[in-house]
Subunit: 492 residues, 4 copies
Amino acid sequence: SFSLLFLCTSQQIQFADDMQEFTKFPTKTGRRSLSRSISQSSTDSYSSAASYTDSSDDEVSPREKQQTNSKGSSNFCVKNIKQAEFGRREIEIAEQDMSALISLRKRAQGEKPLAGAKIVGCTHITAQTAVLIETLCALGAQCRWSACNIYSTQNEVAAALAEAGVAVFAWKGESEDDFWWCIDRCVNVDGWQANMILDDGGDLTHWVYKKYPNVFKKIRGIVEESVTGVHRLYQLSKAGKLCVPAMNVNDSVTKQKFDNLYCCRESILDGLKRTTDVMFGGKQVVVCGYGEVGKGCCAALKALGAIVYVTEIDPICALQACMDGFRVVKLSEVIRQVDVVITCTGNKNVVTREHLDRMKNSCIVCNMGHSNTEIDVTSLRTPELTWERVRSQVDHVIWPDGKRVVLLAEGRLLNLSCSTVPTFVLSITATTQALALIELYNAPEGRYKQDVYLLPKKMGDMRPFLCHMMSPSIISPAVMSPACICLRLMPT
Amino acid sequence: SFSLLFLCTSQQIQFADDMQEFTKFPTKTGRRSLSRSISQSSTDSYSSAASYTDSSDDEVSPREKQQTNSKGSSNFCVKNIKQAEFGRREIEIAEQDMSALISLRKRAQGEKPLAGAKIVGCTHITAQTAVLIETLCALGAQCRWSACNIYSTQNEVAAALAEAGVAVFAWKGESEDDFWWCIDRCVNVDGWQANMILDDGGDLTHWVYKKYPNVFKKIRGIVEESVTGVHRLYQLSKAGKLCVPAMNVNDSVTKQKFDNLYCCRESILDGLKRTTDVMFGGKQVVVCGYGEVGKGCCAALKALGAIVYVTEIDPICALQACMDGFRVVKLSEVIRQVDVVITCTGNKNVVTREHLDRMKNSCIVCNMGHSNTEIDVTSLRTPELTWERVRSQVDHVIWPDGKRVVLLAEGRLLNLSCSTVPTFVLSITATTQALALIELYNAPEGRYKQDVYLLPKKMGDMRPFLCHMMSPSIISPAVMSPACICLRLMPT
Amino acid sequence: SFSLLFLCTSQQIQFADDMQEFTKFPTKTGRRSLSRSISQSSTDSYSSAASYTDSSDDEVSPREKQQTNSKGSSNFCVKNIKQAEFGRREIEIAEQDMSALISLRKRAQGEKPLAGAKIVGCTHITAQTAVLIETLCALGAQCRWSACNIYSTQNEVAAALAEAGVAVFAWKGESEDDFWWCIDRCVNVDGWQANMILDDGGDLTHWVYKKYPNVFKKIRGIVEESVTGVHRLYQLSKAGKLCVPAMNVNDSVTKQKFDNLYCCRESILDGLKRTTDVMFGGKQVVVCGYGEVGKGCCAALKALGAIVYVTEIDPICALQACMDGFRVVKLSEVIRQVDVVITCTGNKNVVTREHLDRMKNSCIVCNMGHSNTEIDVTSLRTPELTWERVRSQVDHVIWPDGKRVVLLAEGRLLNLSCSTVPTFVLSITATTQALALIELYNAPEGRYKQDVYLLPKKMGDMRPFLCHMMSPSIISPAVMSPACICLRLMPT
Amino acid sequence: SFSLLFLCTSQQIQFADDMQEFTKFPTKTGRRSLSRSISQSSTDSYSSAASYTDSSDDEVSPREKQQTNSKGSSNFCVKNIKQAEFGRREIEIAEQDMSALISLRKRAQGEKPLAGAKIVGCTHITAQTAVLIETLCALGAQCRWSACNIYSTQNEVAAALAEAGVAVFAWKGESEDDFWWCIDRCVNVDGWQANMILDDGGDLTHWVYKKYPNVFKKIRGIVEESVTGVHRLYQLSKAGKLCVPAMNVNDSVTKQKFDNLYCCRESILDGLKRTTDVMFGGKQVVVCGYGEVGKGCCAALKALGAIVYVTEIDPICALQACMDGFRVVKLSEVIRQVDVVITCTGNKNVVTREHLDRMKNSCIVCNMGHSNTEIDVTSLRTPELTWERVRSQVDHVIWPDGKRVVLLAEGRLLNLSCSTVPTFVLSITATTQALALIELYNAPEGRYKQDVYLLPKKMGDMRPFLCHMMSPSIISPAVMSPACICLRLMPT
C-alpha cells in the first residue's frame, strides 16, 4: 500500500494472512482487513493534523448523506464536504516536499500524456496521495478513487478532493460493506469505463476481475504497490488468468534505502519524542539488530548524544556495528542499565518477559522492525501486571513493586504508529507510480505482454526519476542533466 | 519562570516591558502579563497531550463551580476535578525522566527536611512542576500553589494535584482578575501562614510584599527562577526593602548549556518535524548565528544529513563554525537555494523582507533565538501577500506568483511554540529549586542575610546536584560518589 | 597479493597487462612485475619504520653473501641477518593488532592441524606476513618463503624470520633474475617436497606447474589471494590443467568493506597528514566519486571538520551523498575554491589539465581510486610547468605565475603510497589464508576436486572467522559463541 | 616558545623549574634547557621530513666550519649550507598553509611597515618560523636569529634561511655553550644595533638585559610567546626593571581553542597512527579527562568508529561527556577491556601501576595532557618488567607472563613527540607575532609604557587577524570585511 504497507514491505513483514490463495480471497477478507487496519489506524492519529479530525460528532453514515460541492457536483461520497478547506491546507503542506510530482505536472502541461486515461484507484487517502491524484488529473487523466484501508482515510483530504472535482468514495471508519461499496462506486459507472488501475493491496484489481470481467479485459495496465497485491498478481499470472500487463513498483534500491535507512533515521527520533518527550542526550539505548533499520536508528541516536549498544547475531553486521563505533552485546548484558530498548531484527520474541522483568524503572520499549512479534507483548498480559494507558500509543506497564516500563504502540511499528512518514519519502513512490502509469498507458502495442513487469530495465533502479526528486539546489543541475537524458518521460 | 521564561532567559531575551521599576509594577502588570502569555500560550498547544485538553466545552468559571475531590476536600480551584485521572498519567510520564527529584524524595523519606515548611508557589502548572510540588510535599512541606501565567496551566495536571490534596488555584485561560485572585487565595488563609516563597516572575513575591507585609517579614526565604523576578528582587534589595534572603537560581553553567546547546539540539528537530513533517536528509539549511543555540541546531541537522550553512558576524564564532565543518556565508549568498532558514543570532531583522522575497518556493523559516524580532514578520503583512494558516503555528505566506514561504510560529521561538522542552531539562531546574528551598529553610541563623544570593559557592555551579540528576547507569556511581560527598543535603 | 594487490583489487583496478593468457605468461612477466613494483615500492617508504631501512649502504648482492643465523643455520637468503633484532620488534608491533592469528596459535597448540604440511609461500614479506608465517609454523607446518614483489620486502623482517629458522629468500630490490632464483630456492630442495602452496599473484604456482610438474601433482591445495592469481587459476582450470584444488580467498563481503570503506576512512587522513601536515578543520575538500572508497573518505573528513563536496554521476550514489549531507556538484563548480581534491571514481581523467589550471594556489591533489589514471598527470608534464619534489611522494607543480599545486604520489594510490594499511585489516586476510590452508590440508578425500573453490559456503562470507578477529572486549563473547559453533576449525 | 611551549602552555603545564626568580636565572639555565629539550627534541624526529635530516655523518662543530652561501656571504652559522635546497622545499610546504602571513606580505609590499626595524629573534627554527622570519624581512625588517632550544632546529631550514641572506645562528644539537654563543652572535654586531626583540622563553631578552643594557634601553618593544618568558617579564616589570614595552602574545581565546580542541582533534589520530599503525575502527578507548583536549580526542576517535569511554571527576565536564554520548566511568571499571588509554587530565598519576598491571595485552598507553606525570611511568621501571624500544617513541613494556603494554613517548606529550603540529595552527601564532611587532614598532609615542601588555583590547581576542587567517573561500569575503575594518594594520 502507498504509505503503510509500503513501509511494512521493506521491513520484511510477512503477512501470513495475506498469503492466502487469490481465489479464496473473499472468505478471508475480513481477517485481512482487520489485521491491516490494526497496524494502520494508528498512523493518522499521530499525523500532525490529527487533533482537527478527532471530533467525529457526526454519526450519520456518509452513504446516507446528501452532499454537494461548491460547483454543484455530488459525484463523491465523503464524511463531510465542509472540511474541504482544511484538507486543502494539508495537501498544500504535502506539496511543499513533493517537488518531483509538481515538476512532472509542469513538464506535462502541454502534452497531457494521460489524456484519455480513465484511472480507477484504491489507495490510502492521505494528503500525499491527493497530490498524486491531482497530478494524474493535471496530466490529463480522469480519476475515480476509493480507500484501500477502512481506517486510514484523512476525511478532510477526501473532502478537498471531492471539492476539487475528483470522484472520491472514502471515509475513516468504513464498515467492510462500505469498503466494497466504495470500490464498486468507482468502477460501476454509467457511460464511463476505466482503462487503467492503480492499486494498493489488490482488492480493487480483484473486484474488477471478478465482477466486471469485460472491463478487466480492456484495461491497458495495472500498477500495484504492495507486497500482497504483487503476490496476488503473480498468482493470477501463474494461473494464466492475467490478461493485462501489470507493473510491480514495489522493489527498487532507492525504495529500500529510503524506507529503511534514511526514513528510520528520522522517524525513530520523531516517534520517541512525540510519545514520550524523552531527552536523547545521555540516554543509554540498546538497538536490537543492525540491518538498514538498525543502522538508521543507531546513527540518529548516536548523533544526538545517546550511548548506543547493539545486539546482532550476524557477525558481518556485528562487525559493521563495531567499525561504526557501537559496542555489540547480548541484550541480557545491558538490559538492567538501558533507558530505551528498540527492536529491529525481523525476528520474534527478541525482547522476552524475562528481559522486561529486569528492565529498570522508566525504561522505554518500542519496535521498529517486525510487526508486533519482536517484543513479547503477550507475556505482559498477566494478572500481576497493571497496564495504564497514559497517552495514545503509550502504555505504562506496572510491576507489583511499582516499576514502570513504557511500552509504545503495544509493540507495533513505532514509525507507523507514532511518527509521520516524511512526505519526501512518499514522494518517491508516488512519482514512480505516476511514471509507471504513463509508461503503460503510452507504451506501443507489444511492448508489454500479459504479465507482471518490474519497472523497465532502464527505469528499474529509478535512476532517471531521481532527477525529478532532487531539487536543483541539492544536486547541481549540471550533474543531473546526463541522467535526465535517459528518461523518456513522454512518448515522442 | 519555570519552563518558559527559564528558556527565554538563557536565550537572552530582554523584556523591555519588564524592566520597569518594581514600585511601579501594578500599573503595567496588564501589559506584561499579556506579552508574556503570548509567548507562552503556544507551548502547551504542542504538548504531546494537547489534544485531550482542547475540548473546553465547559464555559463556567472555575471560581463559580463547587468541586470536591474524592477525599471530600474543596481546598482548591481548578477547571475540572474529573480530569484528575488523566493528569495523573501525565505526571507519571514526567516522573520517568525526573529521577533526580525522585531520588531526592527517597533520600529524604526519613528526615523530612522540609517538615514545618509552608510554601506558597507561583509557577507554570505543568506535569513537571507537579513532580516538583509533590516532591516538596514528600519532604514534609505544606504547599499552596497558583499559576504564574494565565495560559500555561495544564488543567488536567491541576486537577490531579487537587485530587492529591494540594491546594492549587489555577486554570488555563484565567482573566487578569482571576490571576490575582488565585495568588491571593494561596496567601490569604485563616490559620496558615506561609514561611517560604517559590516564585517565577515575581508576581507572588510582590503581592505578599505589598498586601501582607507582616507575612513577608516572617518568610524564611524566597527562591526565584526568572530573569524578571530576579531583576525585581535586586531592585528591592537596592532600595533596602528586601527583608528576606532570596536565592537566584537563574544563573549556572549547567543551565546555560542545557537550555541552549543540548536542549536546542533536540528541539530544533522536534519543532520542525511536528509542524512540517519535513525530511532532514538532503535539505539545505542556513543557520543564522553560531552561538550555543546555533551550535546545537547545526550539530543536529548535520547529523541527520542536512547540508548546513552558517551566517555569523563574530569572527571567533565564524572560525568555530569553519572548524566544525560549516561553510560560513552571507545570508544573501544562499538565500535562493536553501530549504530551511533558522535564526538564532539575538539580533533584530536578520531575515528581511528582501530575503523573504528571494526565497524559493516551500522554504521554511523559523526562529530559535530572539523572541519575535529576528525575522521581520511585520514586513510580510502587506496586501500583495496572502497568509494562510495551514496548521496551528504554521502559516503559508503566498506571493503573487504562487510562491509559498512556510513561516513557523509567526517568527516566535520555535522551541517554545512548536516542540516540548525535554522533561530532563526541566528536571535540572526543578531539582535546583528544591535544593535551594531546603538550604534556605534549614540554614542556621546568620548564614544568609537580607540579600539576593547566588547559589552558595559550592552549590553555585550545581556540581553536587548533578549526582542526583544523572542516573547511576549513565555516570558510574563510583565517579559520582566523591562529588556527592560535598553535597550537604540535609542539616546534620 | 597480500597487502598491496589485495587493496588494488578491491579498488577495482584493471590490470590490463595481467589479463594475458596464462600460457603466455613468461614473455610478459617483466612488464607486469615492473608495473606492479611501481605501485608498491612506495608503500614501505612510508611504513612507520621507514627511516631505519633506508640506509642501504651495502651494495653486495645477498646471493653472494655468506650469512648464518645465531643457531648456525644458513638456510635462507636475506639482505642482512644482523637486522633481525629490529625486524623482531616490527613483528611484535604487528602482533599487537592481529589477535585472530594469535588466538589461532593458542587454540591449535595441542592439535597442530598443519603437522606434516610443507608450505611454499610467495607473498609480500612484511611484519604482518611474518605473523602469518610464524602462525603456520606454530600450527605444525614447515615453511619456505619468497617475495611476490621485488621491492616490497622489509629487509629487517626477512632477517627476523631467517633468525627464527624460517627458510626465507627475499630482499628489497631484487633483480628479475633474483626474483625467480628466490622462488626456485623455495621449491627445489633436496629431501623436502612441498605439499601446499600459498601464493599471491600466481608466480610461484606457475613456476611449480611449469618446472616441477611432479611436485605440482602432489600438492594438496593452493591458496591464492590476488585477482591476477585467481584469474590465472581459472584459466588453468578451464584448460583442464589444474590437477589440484585451489581456494580463492579474494572475494568476500568483509574484504570489500574492510579494504574500501573502513580502511580508506582511516588511510585518507593518514596519507594526507604524513605527506602535507595539512589541518583538516575548515578545509574545503571535493571527493570525486561516492562509492565505498568515497564514502569512507567523506565520512572521515567531514568528521574532522572539513567542508566536503561530492561529484558523482550515478544518481543512486548521488542521492546517498545528499542524504548523508554532502552537496553534490560538478567538479568545475568548486574547483576554484577547494583546498583538497581527492579522486575515487574508478574512471580515467576525472581531474583534467583544465581543472588543474583553475585550482587555487596550494591546492592538494591526490588519488584514492583507479591506479594512476584518475588524475591526468601526463598533462602536467609540459615545459611551462615546473615540478619540484619537495618530499618523498610530494611534488609541487608550479605554474608560470607562481601558483603551486601539491600533487601526491604522482597520482598513484595515496593509501598505498603514503599511508600504512592498518594491521587489523591485513589480519583479516591473513587469518582467512591460514584457515583456508587448514581446511584444504585436512579435508577428507573427495571434499575438494581439481577446481578453484570459493571459501566453502559456510565459510564463504567469513562469518565464523570473525569470532577470531574481534577481541572479546569488542564483541561480547556471549554474542560470538553461537557463531563460533559453526566454525569447524579443526578436523574432528 | 613558538611551537612547543606554545602548546605546553595551553595544556597548562607548570614548569616548576622555570618558576625560579629571574635574577637567579643563570645558575639554573642548564637544568631548564635540558628539561625543555627533552620534551622538544622529539618533535622533529617525527616531522614528516625527519628521515632526510637524520644522517648526521658530519661531526665537526658548525662553529669551526667555514661556510659561504651562494652570494658569498658568511654572515651565519648553520650545520650545512648545502642543505639549503632541501630546506627551501620544507619552507615552501609550510607556506601552503600559512596564507595569513603570505597575505600580510602582499599587503605590505608598498609600505614596508617594518622598514628600519632591526629584529633579534630567538625561537625554534622550523619551516614555519622561517615563513615568519621571511615575512618580517619582506615587511622591511633586518633580522638576526638564534634557536631557543638546543635540539629543535631543522638544520635544512636554517641552511635555507642562511642561503636567503638571513643571519641565522643555530643547529640541532647545540651544547649549552653553543646556545649562548649563538644568541650573542645575534646581538653583538659591529655597526648594527637591534631595536626589536622577538623571544620565546626569555633567554634572549635576559641576555640583552644583562649583557647589553645600553642596547636594551633602546629597544622599542619585546614580543614574547611563552608562559615562562611572560612570567619572567612580569617579574622584571614588578621589580621596576623593565624599561621597554613588552607584549604577551600567549593568551587568547583562539589560541586556547586551536591549541587544544582543534589541534588535538587531529594530532591524537596522527600521533597514534604514526607510532602504532593501529586501526581506530572498533577499538575501545578510554580518555581520561574531558576538558578541551579530551573533547578533541573523544570527538575524533568517536568519528572514526572507536568506542570511547571517559573518566572525569568534574561533574560539569562529566555531564557534557554524557550529553555528547560518552559513558563516564572510573578507569578501573574499563581498564581490563580497553585497547587504548589516553590521559589529558592535567593531574598526576592518573594511570597507576595498578592500572597498568590490569591492562590487557597490546594495550596502548599515551598522554595528551600534563607533561610526563599523568602516567606513572616511573612505576614501570622495576626489575620484573622488560622494556623494549620497538620504534622511536614506542616502547613495549613486557610483563613476566608475556603481556605487552605499548607505551608512547615514555608518557610525554604525544602530540609534541609523535605527530606534527598542523602548520595552520602555527600560522595563527606567527601572524599574531608579526602583527604585534608591527604594532609596537609603529605605535606613536606614549601608546605603550614600560610594561607588559596584552594585545590591545580590540586586537585582544585576535578577531581582526582572523580575516587574514581564513582563506576567502572558507569564510565568505563578504562576512569578513566588517571584521577587517577594525584592523588597523598599518599606521595611517
